[in-house]
Each structure stands twice: as structure tokens, then as C-alpha cells.
């Protein structure tokens, strides 16, 4: 079962996302800020990260860069309510940038797509 690290500071949104992602058949690990996300990424070695940007303690952009510097191959989806961070060069490190919506179809599709891509890449490496 693939593990997804969900980074989000709003408790209600965590409940929603956690449920919806779990229904798709993934194991979900949650973190409530960027700092916690780095630690969880180390401990759980997730297959994919869904990352909010505006969070206390450490924001999603810095957290993403630090996670990537330790685990280069984890796909990261930025999931934020704001579109303007797309101009921020550091967010280009993410594999996808999704603007939060009540319809989670886009997020779910992206998760699926990126996990398939990652598996293909991993296979190429072992071959």
C-alpha cells in the first residue's frame, strides 16, 4: 500500500483529505506544519507528499525543499488555496501545483498519475 504524507494545518481539512485519500486505497500519514513534515518524511518514507503552503513554524515551500534535499525521488504536490505562489521559483520544485477546491478529483487524479510515474522510474533504475 502506498503511503501519502499529508501536510496541512487546518484540522477540519485534515479530516476531509485523510478520509478522501484513504478511500482511494492509500495509507495516510499527517503532519501539521513544515517542520513536522520533514520528520515524518524521515520516519515514514512516504511515496508521495501533499503539501499546503501557509502553515505555522515552517511553510510548505521551505519544507518541500528540505524534504527534496533528503529524498530526491518523492513526488510532491502543492495543495494551496492561493494561486500566486506559482510565481515563486521554489514552488517549481513541486511535481504539481493544485489550487484547493471542494472537489478533490484533480488532487486524486494527480496522486494516481505521479505514483504511476514514480513506479516506472524506480523500475527503470532497478533494471
Amino acid at each position: 500500500m502506498d503511503t501519502i504524507l499529508l501536510v496541512e494545518d487546518d484540522k477540519n481539512q485534515i479530516l476531509l483529505y485523510e478520509q478522501e485519500i484513504a478511500i482511494e486505497g492509500y495509507k495516510v500519514v499527517t503532519a501539521m506544519n513544515g517542520l513536522e513534515a520533514i520528520e515524518k518524511a524521515r520516519n515514514y518514507k512516504p511515496d508521495l507528499v501533499v503539501m499546503d503552503i501557509n502553515m505555522p513554524k515552517m511553510d510548505g515551500i521551505e519544507s518541500m525543499c528540505r524534504i527534496l534535499s533528503e529524498h530526491r525521488n518523492i513526488p510532491i504536490i502543492i495543495n494551496t488555496a492561493y494561486s500566486n505562489y506559482q510565481n515563486n521559483f521554489m514552488t517549481w520544485s513541486a511535481d504539481a501545483y493544485i489550487i484547493k477546491s471542494s472537489d478533490l478529483k484533480e488532487l486524486k487524479d494527480k496522486i494516481k498519475e505521479l505514483l504511476i510515474k514514480k513506479k516506472r522510474k524506480d523500475n527503470e533504475k532497478t533494471v
Binding site: 521551505e62 525543499c65 528540505r66 527534496l68 534535499s69 533528503e70 521559483f89 521554489m90 517549481w92 520544485s93
Partner: protein, 410 residues
């Protein structure tokens, strides 16, 4: 023909000057300083040549990315190059690693830029000119920038023609008829010659002019791969496959031959490049008023030459800096930095003598590099007996004797 100066254009270019090289092959000159801070040509530091190129080309937004042993370089930039006006949005900033994106030092040239992406974000330049802080050359970057814009390139790599035998030290470039780079090999063992000239190869000068967005995208892509994070080894070879990558051949406008460009890689190359300066009409002319090289120097009185009782003093084919006192000594083909005192009946031939060196009486020196603040006792001979010299000095392959900074001699 040089194009009219376009101020707006030059505000769109940010320079990132990579000055983090350890310069291991220049040891012991790099014992106490980074390679770009190594003194050169009497009064300069190696980095002054690239910085002078920037201001002579109209580029005034410069970030110097430092890393190892940066104190000496930092001080030089602070006291010597604090000349830009921040109110006019001009700056020269020294940026040591911030460790914003990881806990690592810069892994390679591309990683140095990657770790400083936030600088690009703040400045939002249209183009980024990536320069190395350890080359000696004069180049008008405005010609490069105009070429890059006219040809709508994503990346333009300045290249220079070198003899085929030398080419394996560099990134060797293959181009098509429209200057497009179709082949790039970093330090190949069998470099390919130019189709038209069998004994000449085209090599990269380690300078890159990027469109900012392409640069950001490619260094981010690269950061996610296992690689050396190096422009020459990783980024350029990937980019020639998918982007519009052009070469810009660096030639001297006056002679139409390959321009003067030296990568001061070794002690022998360092010594040669210094001694090259003393000729009449040298290939690299410091006296070119159209291309002033600026630096920082302490204030010293004029150099003084004394003619003693023995009347043996003579100076020929040499560069002598301010503040020197040369007391009836014989100097030939040498570069003497400020504040050097040379005692009577001494001689220096083919030598590079740095600031604050004291040379006693009856000293004979040849083919040597004496770093700052070394005191050479009376009667000492340097550069005449390899076995003797090797006991206390570094001696290079070509027999150049090197004394490190503040070395205590016996």
C-alpha cells in the same frame, strides 16, 4: 561594431559570480584564501578581472557566491568594491551559503545557483549571467547579451578556440552552421577538433548566459537527479538536447584571433600568466585605457629606487608597485607588489613577489613566487638548487619555487 548602450537591457541581467572554488592545485597560494582572492599582476586579485569586465560591460547587479576560506575575498569586496549605488538599484553582494534549501554546502556549480534561487526570485531578472571568479580575460559581455537576444537563445555559452592538445582540460563543444551547440563533452580524453581546423578545438569558457526561467527549470530538474550538480557535466549536456543552446565565439575585436583567456588552474599557469604581463605590448595589457581594471589598494608612497655604491642596481621588463624600496638591486622579468623592500646586491629574476615581502642583502631569487609578508634573510638563494629548495618550499613540475604567506624562512 559595438551596439549603442541600452541601459534598460542591462537592468534585466543579474550576474552570479561563482567564487567558491577551493583552488587545490594552486596550493599553497590558496592556503589562506579562496582562489578568486589570490593576488595577481602586482596589485590585483584574480576576481578583479571578472568584476572589471562586469562594470566595463555595464552590468551592475552582481551576486558573488562564496564558500570556502572566504574571509580574504569578503574583505576585498567590502573595502575595494563597495562602489555601487543601491539607490540606483546597483549592487555587489557577497552571498555565503545560506543553507535555506538543505544542510549541505554547494555540491557543484549548478547547486550553488539552485541554493540561491530565492535571489533570482527577489530580483526577477530576465537573464542570468553565470561567471567564474578565477579566469583572467577581458570580455565585453554586452556583445554576448546582444547576440543572445538577437538569436532568441535559451542559453548562450561563450567559447574559445584552443590548440587540440590543450582541449582535454575543458568542456569541448561541437557546433552546427547556425552556432547551435550540438555536442558537449566535459574534459574528454580524445577531444574532437573543429571541422575546418584539424589542430584546433572549440571549448567552453565556463561562462553561461541563461534566460532565467529556463535556468530555474533546468536546475530544479537537475536537483532531483543523482548528479554532480555541475553546469558543464550535467546541465549543458541535457539542455543541448531540448533547448536552444548557442555558442558565442570569443575573439579579440582588434586582431580577430582568439581572445586572451586564461583559467589559472595550476601554479605553473599562474606564474606564466604573471610573467606574461611584463613584456612590451603583452597579450593581456593592463595599460589599456579603454578597459580599466580596478582593484583595492592601500595608500603607499611612490616606489623608490636607490643606486648604491656598488652601482649594480638595474630594473628591466618588470612591474613595480607603489611603496617599494629597491636598494641597488637587479630585477628582471618580475612582478613586484606594493610595500616590498629589496636589499642591496640582491637579485630577482622571473619572480612574482607579493605585498609586504622583505628581501635582505645579497639574496638571489629566480623563477619563484613569494607570497605576502615573507622575510627572506641575507644571502639566501632561491630557485637555483632544486634539492635545497624542496627542503622548505613547494617546487612545481616546471621548477617554480613557491613560498606561502607569512612563511618563516631559515
Amino acid at each position: 561594431m559595438r551596439k549603442p548602450f541600452d541601459h534598460k537591457l542591462f537592468k534585466k541581467v543579474l550576474v552570479m559570480l561563482l567564487a567558491g572554488g577551493k583552488g587545490e592545485r594552486l596550493y599553497p597560494l590558496t592556503r589562506d584564501r579562496a582562489k578568486p582572492a589570490v593576488p595577481f599582476g602586482g596589485v590585483y586579485r584574480i576576481i578583479d578581472f571578472t568584476l572589471s569586465n562586469c562594470i566595463n560591460s555595464g552590468l551592475r547587479k552582481i551576486c558573488v557566491l562564496t564558500q570556502y576560506k572566504s574571509y580574504s575575498l569578503d574583505r576585498h569586496l567590502r573595502v575595494g568594491w563597495n562602489i555601487f549605488n543601491s539607490e540606483l538599484d546597483e549592487f555587489i553582494e557577497n552571498i555565503p551559503p545560506q543553507k535555506r534549501t538543505s544542510e549541505m554546502w554547494y555540491l557543484g556549480t549548478a547547486d550553488a545557483v539552485y541554493q540561491n534561487i530565492y535571489v533570482l526570485e527577489r530580483e526577477r531578472p530576465e537573464m542570468v549571467l553565470i561567471l567564474a571568479g578565477d579566469h583572467i580575460y577581458k570580455m565585453d559581455y554586452s556583445e554576448l547579451i546582444n547576440f543572445h537576444i538577437e538569436n532568441k537563445a535559451d542559453l548562450t555559452v561563450p567559447c574559445i578556440e584552443v590548440p587540440l592538445d590543450d582541449a582535454s582540460r575543458f568542456g569541448v563543444v561541437g557546433i552546427d552552421k547556425k552556432h547551435r551547440i550540438v555536442d558537449f563533452e566535459e574534459k574528454p580524453s580524445n577531444p574532437k577538433p573543429l571541422p575546418a581546423k584539424q589542430n584546433i578545438a572549440l571549448v567552453s569558457m565556463g561562462i553561461y548566459l541563461f534566460n532565467t526561467e529556463v535556468l530555474v527549470q533546468r536546475i530544479i530538474d537537475n536537483a532531483k537527479k543523482d548528479s554532480n550538480r555541475d553546469f558543464g557535466k550535467n546541465i549543458i549536456p541535457t539542455m543541448i538536447k531540448k533547448d536552444h543552446v548557442l555558442s558565442f565565439v570569443f575573439t579579440d575585436n582588434k586582431t580577430n584571433k582568439a581572445g586572451y583567456w586564461r583559467d589559472i588552474g595550476t601554479l605553473d599557469a599562474y606564474w606564466e600568466a604573471n610573467i606574461d604581463l611584463v613584456k612590451a605590448n603583452p597579450d593581456f595589457n593592463l595599460f589599456d585605457s579603454a578597459w580599466p581594471i580596478r582593484t583595492y589598494n592601500k595608500q603607499y608612497p611612490p616606489a623608490q629606487y636607490l643606486y648604491g655604491q656598488e652601482k649594480k642596481g638595474m630594473i628591466r621588463d618588470s612591474l613595480i608597485s607603489n611603496g617599494c624600496i629597491i636598494n641597488d638591486a637587479f630585477i628582471e622579468r618580475s612582478v613586484i607588489s606594493p610595500d616590498v623592500i629589496i636589499g642591496s646586491q640582491s637579485s630577482a629574476i622571473g619572480s612574482v613577489i607579493m605585498e609586504g615581502v622583505r628581501i635582505g642583502k645579497n639574496v638571489t631569487i629566480q623563477n619563484a613566487i613569494i607570497d605576502k609578508y615573507v622575510t627572506i634573510p641575507d644571502g639566501m638563494r632561491i630557485g637555483y638548487n632544486v634539492q635545497e629548495d624542496e627542503k622548505q618550499f613547494t617546487v612545481t613540475e616546471k621548477g617554480i619555487v613557491v613560498a606561502y604567506k607569512e612563511m618563516h624562512l631559515i
